[in-house]
Symmetry: D2
Subunit: 337 residues, 4 copies
């Protein structure tokens, strides 16, 4: 198939490459000329504007995949494209948009019979090799029409053991993509996916923190171990209940930098973790772990909070405690005599 | 009554003063000579050793109150006193011992018919004026015997509105002290008291953090307020559901230092918060708020955790994200065109 | 002053009574005729429609206080009033609206020069006696104009000890009301107030849960106490760090129903707790305690969650564990021999 | 090698089988005669007492593996064995003992030159096929001596991609077992492993709860999806960041029981999750996710907590709210008119 790709960053560029490798034709655009040129050398048709991308696509139903930062840039580009394409053309937002924005966009574009798909795309820098896991929302016939595209991007069955009870006839889910439901459903599932990701990451982080703390010079000598973080991550990859791809990545990081000195621990979050908590609240679902994983990232980006100063101030107020654990007028250290 | 007081820090010194004011005689000891001298000038009999305190007490049942840092110092002093006093004498641990230590000590001392009381004592630097709230564990007849002491230290009915349903005959609880049960029960109740204290403090801290954050220059101008922390704390003291003594203290701190610049936010914890969580775990009681309040203090004392570096390492591993929110090879910022 | 009051439920009715007692004239309306009649007998002018309330108010600047459930009813009533009143008239939303709704309403009404105040009102069923704590947002001159109203509703200085550093000249905050800032600021502060309230309540709840659990027959006999919940709540009211109005209420409940058999523990939440968490997320402020307190309420209203069934399913999947702690094929209980 | 195995439950039985398959000789014992007989038929030498197991082992250094429920049974069996075996014999506790118990036992047995290893063993019912992941504490020479045993039980390199930076010479960790350090280190690492397991499971559980809630009839029709839990779990197994073995198990459970009607959601916990939290507290490491995952299990086993009744009681106290969201005297539902 012929497909337009807008946004040639790490994700969009690699998606183009994986599609071309599978025999699809890519008409690509990015404001960054270098990114365009690079793809052009690899066989893509590079164009210089949204208008040109639309003009260049020749198939009956134009198909344009957006791989842009969520928020304003995606919003504006969808708007602009909406004015350029026509009935039955398909716009796919492969980024991380908020699912309620998808619902709104699909409705507006639908009034012009433009078809809009929201496609949550997981895989990161590894997707070009491993394939992308895709969660898609929007009209079924558009998803079906694009099956060759999704199928090329997805990992496929690969050598992953099939799930018992799934052994008759492959499903799309088994090949790594899913039509999750109507507009918004794709990004909703991707949003929760990322919310879970935060929780999983924080669980490993806390566990390794406890292991690491057990080596601490702060502990009395007899209570201290000299645990090897890299070996522990490695051994858990084999036959343990907590093996996972995130653990594989942790093991790789620890193998070359066992104290992780290359990282300071200032951790960003993106919208999905926040939206997941908000969705939980809307549904009145308790989501303690996912929330606390989000807050750990907030806290990681602060030196001290005003709240912590409040705690200090209250402690000073009722007990005369000054910070650093020293009392102004400490209880005398009283030996028995 | 005549009573020995060991440990003349802020708590022990003021307890002696409050008892003397009520007409009791205090025989006091502290390793710090200045603390002893100061109390002697105020009317106490100051002595120079545990042995001497025991020798000086003249009543039929010697009564000795320990107000020492919990842990080894208290343990050693109880041990030493155990060898010096005799049957029916009473040792009161007024500090913050772990309640299981009380149970053990009471058993050992009980073999010599020495009576041991564990008395959780709340009130901080304000106790000398407001009186001390006391939660007592140990044999009933010893608690009854010491009623004049507890009664003098407690706040009494004061002008606090009586609890509906409590209007016939004052109870000890209404006067601010309680025989909570057998050995250990006093410090158990005090432990949970402090656990709750952590939770309450953290609730205020988070709330004020959200208020404070609403003034932040990081927010777009239209979404920002200029809330006055001191006035907010003050107004909540009057007629609101969340009025409390901790709020009074917060209001006082904010009245003179509205940004709390005098505090860094490095927050200590003492054993009780930790033991409360452990007690919850022993009983299989979910204690999310009390635990998270404890952890907020742990976190306040760290720059970054190893766990946070793990998060950064994983994020780098799957998405090429580098810290500070910058990607190595960021998605191009794509304007619509 | 003359003031219109719309909504004569527990809050609105008592507010009218407190205002009349202070000499103000109330023109009241409620869809419930009985509520209107009741207030009429107590001296209010009862009317039968919004239109009539507007017509009846005679002062130069009409003042109308809404005390309605937040959400659609308040929204519709503000809309309707907006069409009935004129320039310089003042509408006060005394309920629990979302602060962003206030900002929007104030803007729309402002275009017609109608003045809109958002007034968070705390005090519950006790406000009629204790006075109401009020957090007000909106134009300063409207707040000043209404000072006689706010002043009458507020608790005043009362016999609450003044905050050190606040001893020169009474402030409004000290009398229990506060102009927090422009439109929305009042309900924002009230929202955080309620968020804190959830956290405080949960801290007490968990603490008492741990106390209660220590009496449990599930514990071995030697490790069990027979703690008296009512006495413990009572004693903490006197001189302890955790004394508060919420504790006063807890003590009152426990005094007459020590096992709280009259309550099932199905706990509602209102919008403020949720909005507080969302505000924290918007500001990237970690709010673990406030969130977890909210989630505890969500969980209290469920039998089991789907998530818990997932946990059971996973446990069964990796370990063959069946629920209830029984294994299908349990490890043999192996005595040493 | 010849090895004694005590405890022939699911874990111990399968461990014997895997060892025999690798050519080792197993002398097995269990109080359950049926379990013994079953293993005897498969080639093991079944004996009828601890004494007999010791007598039957013929190698220079007797090696005995305990696979018993942690706690008293393991403790007693170690004690009894300690009296039966001699210098240089090796006892391995392959169960889930508390690591401080290991340290104590190793010390006591070490006085008789008996060597004690603590071996955390992960793998559950799948270990017989996949191999067991083992984390071992104790003297190095004993671990080295037993290398053939550990090597046979471990998964080996298998077809798991090797960790980048680990490509020269296989390490034990890569084959699935690890000498973590001195006595206690094995079970310490296993303990944290299980703590992480709780956190991971809870993250998935909450995520699926949010997905499931999005299908709820409680939501307005336009906001509801009809997400397929089984397909979502399946698609995430392919190329997504959150793929893991726990997800594989979830997918398998959902494939055959998409609403998990076969499970009630009453979730047990074992000691390791609790000890992990206690270790975090000892080290002052914030472990919010691991704690909250534990508490979610506690809560799953209760109907309502006393704490929840406290919340209801307080709400009733300040606002007259009665449970179930109904107010005694609700605010009138006020239509605009």
């Amino acid at each position: 198939m012929q497909i337009g790709i807008i946004g040639l960053g790490r994700m969009g560029g690699n998606i183009s490459r994986r599609l071309m490798k599978a025999g699809h034709q890519c008409v690509v655009f990015d404001v960054n000329a270098r990114a365009r040129d690079s793809l052009a050398k690899e066989g893509a048709t590079a164009v210089e504007s949204l208008r040109e991308i639309v003009r260049t696509l020749e198939e009956k139903h134009r198909v344009i995949w957006l791989m842009l930062p969520s928020g304003q840039i995606t919003e504006q580009t969808v708007d602009s494209l909406g004015a350029l394409v026509g009935p039955d053309d398909i716009i796919i937002d492969g980024g991380n948009s908020f699912y309620k924005d998808d619902i709104r966009r699909a409705k507006i574009l639908g009034e012009k019979r433009i078809r809009y798909l929201d496609c949550g795309t997981s895989g990161g820098v590894w997707g070009i090799e491993r394939g992308y896991c895709m969660m898609i929302g929007g009209p079924k016939e558009a998803v079906d029409y694009l099956d060759p595209i999704f199928s090329a991007l997805a990992p496929g069955l690969g050598d992953i053991t099939r799930t018992p009870g799934r052994d008759q006839g492959e499903t799309r889910a088994e090949r790594g993509y899913l039509h999750a439901g109507p507009s918004g459903a794709g990004h909703f599932v991707k949003m929760v996916h990322n919310g879970i990701e935060y929780g999983l990451m924080q669980a490993y982080a806390e566990g390794f923190d406890i292991l690491y703390g057990k080596n601490s010079k702060d502990l009395p000598e007899g209570e201290r171990f000299a645990l090897d973080m890299a070996d522990i991550a490695e051994v858990w990859r084999r036959g343990s209940v907590i093996s996972s791809w995130l653990l594989d990545l942790s093991a790789a990081a620890l193998a070359t930098d066992p104290r992780l000195d290359g990282f300071s621990g200032f951790v960003q979050d993106s919208g999905e973790g926040r939206w997941t908590v908000e969705a939980a609240i809307e549904e009145a679902v308790p989501a303690d772990v996912l929330s606390t994983a989000l807050y750990a990232r907030f806290r990681s980006r602060k030196n001290h909070t005003f709240g912590e100063r409040m705690l200090s101030a209250m402690r000073f107020g009722f007990g005369g405690h000054v910070e650093g654990g020293e009392s102004i007028d400490p209880e005398p250290k009283q030996p028995a005599s």
